[in-house]
Each structure stands twice: as structure tokens, then as C-alpha cells.
Amino acid sequence: MLAVQAEKQLGEFAVNVSFTSDTAATALFGPSGAGKTSVINMIAGLLKPERGSIILGDDVLFDSATGIDMPAWRRRIGYVFQEGRLFPHLSVKRNLDFGRWISGRAKDPKQLDHVIEMLDIGHLLDRRPGKLSGGERQRVAVGRALLMQPRLLLLDEPLASLDAARKREILPYLERLRDEARVPLIYVSHNAAEIRRLVSRVVRLESGTVVETGGIELLDGVRTDMLA
């Protein structure tokens, strides 16, 4: 279970959120500029809240009252960035292996094969990120985050930079991820149609605060971007 209670002033913009998540997949939903990315950056440890606490399972990741602030690299929280953010100087294979390699864990060919098969990226292993299509890049980014064996996987608008055809191509992989990977997901999106397909719980954000939480029925009243 993830419990977030965090405040942060970012220039004119204030983020002040409080929510919990204990399902396999939770969406942070809201228009651009609602503070969704800031919230998951705080969960990942890339952005430090001014006040509040972030607790994952039995682990206190951040607590301003006791001064706890676990650095991002110790949190074991996977992060799929909007633009993939694959390391341009490393092959796909080394990108996938980076998390294992940098933490000095033993190789796990079974897990590697499983993730490669699940995301269907076996034919890309020797390429460099610069030679991948947008959809391939995002699948590799998902694989890279999964292979560091995260306790929680954050996906920040992983489809936003893709055209409609690519989105349709990737969504089934994300559904498999949700069903097979056994890692809780936080899925950030402003696209109601995507969220409907992937998650059962929705945290709706607007101008930096949580306006409501609940099931996907929350999406009904909201203008839906076309998942064309």
C-alpha cells in the first residue's frame, strides 16, 4: 500500500495532495498542469516535498516530521518516463540490464527472457535507442523499469508522445504488464480512455490537489480525450 501526503510549492503553483493506493493499478488523472508528474516525482524521490510523508508498505520513503528522505536510487521504484529516457549511448540490451548491473545483482536470464517476450522486444536488443520507433522505445522503457525489480512502477503518460496507431499498438502490452508483472502500477494520464482500459482506481487531480478518488466511474463526468 502506498500512502502519499505531500505539499510542495513550485513557483506560483502549489501541489498539496493526499491519497492512498492499494490496488494493482491506480491512475493519477487530470488535465495537463494538474501536478501529476510532480506527484510521481515525489514518490520516486526526484522531487522533494516541503512537508508530508510518503509511505510504501512498511517503508517510510519520506517524512518531513522525522527528517527521513530516502534517495531515489535506494527506493526501488520503477519509472517509465513520458519520453522513455533510454540512455542514448547504450544498446537496448544494456539499457534493459542497467538496473540489475548498477545494483550488482546476479543475472536472471529467466526474468529477462520473460520481460523480453512479454513486451516483444527481442528483435531490438542490439539496436541503439536512436534507431527505435516511439512505440518500441516505450516498450523498452517499460522493460528497463520492470527489470530493476521494482516494488512499485510509475508510468508518466507513457503513450502521450505517440500517435494513435502506436497507442493502440502499446496498450495490449500495458494490459499484460498489469496482469502478469505483479507490480503495483501508478499510471499518470490525462486520457480517460487509456485509464478505463488499464486501471480500476482513479485519483483525480486538479490544480495541484486531489479533487476526488474512486473507481473509473469518476471518468464519466469528465470530458474524454479521444483515444483515436
Binding site: G45, R74, R85, F98, R128, G130, A145
Partner: protein, 231 residues
């Protein structure tokens, strides 16, 4: 064809050795200072920046003089290094390498600093979420991404070291076989009546080495850039 005397060859070999050694020794310091200037913010940063750039704006003889009163055999730092580590600079080729390294340092730091500043720090954030602590993220992501600039910096330093004259001759004089680099040898030849013909050979060699170095750096930089962009 070029008729080179044994003395010419000695000067050429010495110049190459001095330039290569000074560049390689300066490199770790250059990367460290460039990193600090690119990333850290602290009180006195502009003073450090100015200090690093000083050899670029000071007359080279002044830099040579300062090296002499700091690293000379009887000077404080020079005596300490000689007594404790057996490192002697005065009137040795090592002194020429030191002078060249100091003169080339600002150029090296500038190029490396710019390339480090150009690396998108979001890649380091991605590395952090994958479990890399800041030092590892820097070593495995930032430095490789800055490689074209690091190569350019090494190249500039090498070329500067090859051309260094004023600081070297002030600090360690111009001793054939020990501190007489190509530049110093050309200067010495031109001081002798009729020596300009012999000097011409070394001038041609200097042009050839510089030209080859530029081509090589261009090639390395292009290769490094191609690797970054999916080559």
C-alpha cells in the same frame, strides 16, 4: 623531401611526449574542475573559474615565472615534491610537461565543462530510479554522453601543449634533449645566422602534426557523436 637531423628528431619526440603526457595528466583534473564548475554552486565559484582561466590571459612568461618560483628546485612546492616524491620539474622534460599542462588547462576545462552542461540531467534521474547512486550515474551516464566534448578538450590541450613556448622556456629553459621542444628548437635555430632553412623543416613538421591532430580529433568526435545518436 624533408631532411631531418637527429636533433630535429629529438625535439619532435620530446614535443610529442610532453604534449601527450601533459594532456593525459591534466585530463582527470580537467574533468574534475569542469564537473565542479558545471554542476556545483558554492561560494567562491567565480574565483575558481577566474583562477582556472588565468593562464589563458596572463602573458606566458608570467605563468612560467610563477611556475619557477613555485615548482623550482628550491621553491616551496618544488622542494617538497622533490624531497618526498622524487619529482623534479626544474630543467627537466617533466617541467615542460607541467608548463604545457598548466597553459592548456583552461582550454581543456572550457570544452569539457560545456559538454557536461549540455548533458540532459534527466538521464541521471532515470539512472537514479534504476538504482544508480549519484557517482555511478555520473560515471556511467553523464561522462559517456559528454565524451565528444572531452575528446575536443583533450585535442585542444594537446595542440596548445604542442605550441607552448613562453611558459616552458621561462620555467625550464631550452635544453636540447631535455626541454627543447619543437617550438623552442625553431626559436633557437632562427637566432643563428642562416638557421632559418633548418628551422623550416621543423616548421613543416609542426604543421603536419597539428593538422593530423585536428583530423584525428574530428574523426573521434564524429564517431562518439554517431554512437550517441544510434550509429
Amino acid at each position: 623531401m624533408l631532411e631531418l637531423s637527429p636533433q630535429d628528431w629529438t625535439a619532435i619526440a620530446l614535443s610529442l611526449r610532453v604534449a601527450v603526457v601533459s594532456t593525459l595528466i591534466a585530463l582527470p583534473f580537467g574533468i574534475a574542475i569542469a564537473t565542479v564548475l558545471a554542476r556545483a554552486s558554492f561560494w567562491g565559484k567565480s574565483a575558481l573559474d577566474a583562477l582556472v582561466h588565468l593562464p589563458l590571459v596572463l602573458p606566458p612568461v608570467v605563468t612560467g615565472y610563477l611556475l619557477l618560483i613555485t615548482f623550482g628546485r628550491k621553491a616551496p612546492v618544488g622542494a617538497f615534491l622533490a624531497d618526498h616524491f622524487g619529482i623534479v620539474f626544474s630543467f627537466r622534460w617533466t617541467g615542460a610537461a607541467l608548463a604545457c599542462g598548466v597553459m592548456a588547462f583552461p582550454l581543456m576545462v572550457r570544452a569539457i565543462r560545456l559538454s557536461i552542461e549540455a548533458v540532459d540531467q534527466r538521464f541521471e534521474h532515470a539512472a537514479a530510479t534504476l538504482g544508480a547512486n549519484p557517482a555511478w550515474a555520473y560515471a556511467t551516464i553523464t561522462l559517456p554522453l559528454a565524451l565528444p566534448g572531452i575528446i575536443a578538450g583533450m585535442m585542444l590541450a594537446f595542440a596548445r601543449a604542442l605550441g607552448e613556448f613562453g611558459a616552458t622556456i621561462t620555467f625550464v629553459s631550452s635544453i636540447p634533449g631535455e626541454t627543447q621542444t619543437i617550438s623552442a628548437a625553431i626559436y633557437t635555430l632562427t637566432q643563428v645566422p642562416g638557421g632559418d632553412a633548418a628551422a623550416l623543416n621543423l616548421v613543416i613538421v609542426a604543421i603536419m602534426i597539428s593538422f593530423a591532430a585536428l583530423l584525428a580529433s574530428e574523426w573521434f568526435a564524429r564517431r562518439a557523436a554517431a554512437r550517441l545518436h544510434g550509429g
